[in-house]
Amino acid sequence: MRQQFKKTVLQLAEEDDRLVLLFGDISVFLFNDFSQKYPERLLNIGICENTLISMAAGMSATGYRPVVHTITPFVTERSYEQVKLDLCYNRFGCTIVTVGGSFDYAWDGATHHCYTDLELMRMLPGMEVMQPGSKKEFDILFRACYKNGSPSYIRIAADGHGLDLPCEFGKGIIVQETKGAEVTVITSGPILGNVAEACSGLPVNILYFPTIKPLDVSLLRKFDDTDLIVVHDAFGLFEAITAAGGVKAAYHGLPDEFCCYYGALDDIRREIGLDPAGIRNAVLEYSGCSEAPARRAGPHKIVKVN
């Protein structure tokens, strides 16, 4: 997906002189061809994320369209006030693109995990929030939010869900619809791959929201007579769903503790019950299905019910 980021940005830079990249000293090598073509438009500002965001606001004030890029926790959790005030409150457009969300840097431990970014950004007035699950979705969503000029946040993932789905900014899609289903599973981003596998053969609906803000509430409304279960490896989607109101929703995903197991992304997902087996168990449990669990969903699984 990071390659797609470069590809998309290279194309947009050709069309729009206002596009500048502000990097927090990552992806610089990957973007070598960009910086060769546009040497003044890739600014590797330094390991100073707060200033990175503030400067993006300043460059926006002088007519540029900044795209900020660095590692998820450092530019969302650390620089939250800069995003809140310098971008959102002052209404300076900027597209923030991060890598390393949730447990993409599993092996680095809790300092590099970040599962609050989507919710933190969602809470800010005027901010758009996206979690694409494929290169195609990234390309479509990035172009849409870049074009509209609002502050926006988009998270690049290490993996993809492996499905070829239609995508439109601000729209959710129905991945699976089962006639008479009483349960609807809702997710966003690459973990849709695990969700789809987990729900294979189960009489449930699956909704997918790569745009978390603005949320496609009209799609949600079509399923609000079913019980909803949000399966997600970050905060943000569940809160967006419940904030829409009028739904009965449960959550399966993050535990209330640091996940310092190291290993790879799939190791952590398995440990906290977000692998296909863990998700299937959670959906079965929630829907009261009699199918015997293949295994326990993991020691830290939590399900919150409204």
Binding site: V20, E40, L43, I45, G46, C48, N50, T51, I53, S54, M55, A56, A57, G58, M59, S60, A61, T62, G63, Y64, P66, E81, Q82, L85, D86, Y89, N90, R91
Partner: protein, 260 residues
């Protein structure tokens, strides 16, 4: 203190008394700085969005009342309007909102933000080949924030010769974390530095007019509450306090004594 600085300070006192809001001592320390900046920079009160204007950022945003009174003097709006300061529905908040007040380029308040945004503004203007400049006022208390020093490093590294930082050195952090010897610090960070008496408008103006091949810092050595001995002698008590009618009379009297 000349007649204009006296007039601006009088307005600050009266509006603070009227509204019950305002950080008077910190406003008083930047009166001459704000005057000098607005007498130096390119701007047009009749056309606040003039495309060729220089940009000013009050990074120490709690001196907003001082800025409003200065902008009113330069003709951005009538001073009578500012008497709504801090009231519900007023456009004059205790920290300025760029969408409500003509002449405000950035809504500030939380310390350590304006300097970073100003750095981005200067970089943007420089990249686009513009000769517009960016002026930013940073307080010494604000310089407890690490973001100030991040931004200074970037500005110097990027040789932003179109940016001038006025450092309001009013020793406001004497009781906790003083920023000692700011001239040496700015110099070490790569700035061209001039140190001035911060209540001498001409001296500040002259310092602002200097050019360099790198960003400039004007260290304005000021006194918090300058103009009223009651404020100067008890700055912490007056940090965010408005005078009652009797105190207003005393403070106005002290102001006039100083002006003479």
């Amino acid at each position: 203190m000349d007649g204009l600085s006296l007039q601006i300070r009088e307005s600050i006192l009266k509006i603070s008394h009227h509204s019950g809001h305002g950080h008077i001592p910190t406003c008083f320390s930047v009166v001459e700085t704000l005057r000098a900046v607005y007498e130096t920079m390119r701007h047009n009160p009749a056309d606040p969005d003039w495309a060729e204007r220089d940009l000013f950022v009050l990074s120490k945003g709690h001196a907003a009342l001082g800025l409003y009174c200065t902008l009113a003097h330069f003709g951005y709006f009538p001073i009578q309007d500012v008497y709504a300061f801090g009231g519900f529905g007023s456009r004059f908040g205790c920290h300025a909102d760029r969408f409500k007040i003509p002449g405000i380029e950035l809504s500030t308040g939380s310390l350590g933000h304006g300097i970073g945004v100003a750095t981005g503004m200067a970089l943007g203007l420089k990249m686009s080949g513009s000769d517009r400049r960016v002026y930013v006022v940073v307080g010494d208390g604000e310089a407890n924030e690490g973001t100030v020093w991040e931004a200074l490093m970037v500005a110097a590294h990027r040789s932003l010769d179109n940016m001038t930082v006025v450092f309001d050195n009013n020793r406001s952090q004497a009781r906790c974390l003083p920023v000692r010897d700011p001239e040496r610090k700015f110099s070490a960070f790569g700035f061209d530095v001039t140190s001035v008496e911060g209540h001498d408008v001409s001296a500040i103006r002259e310092a602002l007019a200097l050019k360099a091949d790198r960003p400039r810092a004007v260290v304005a050595n000021t006194v918090k509450g300058a103009g009223c001995r009651t404020l100067v002698n008890d700055v912490f008590a007056w940090h965010r306090r408005s005078p009652d009618a009797h105190e207003l009379e005393i403070l106005l009297g002290e102001l006039h004594e100083t002006a003479v």
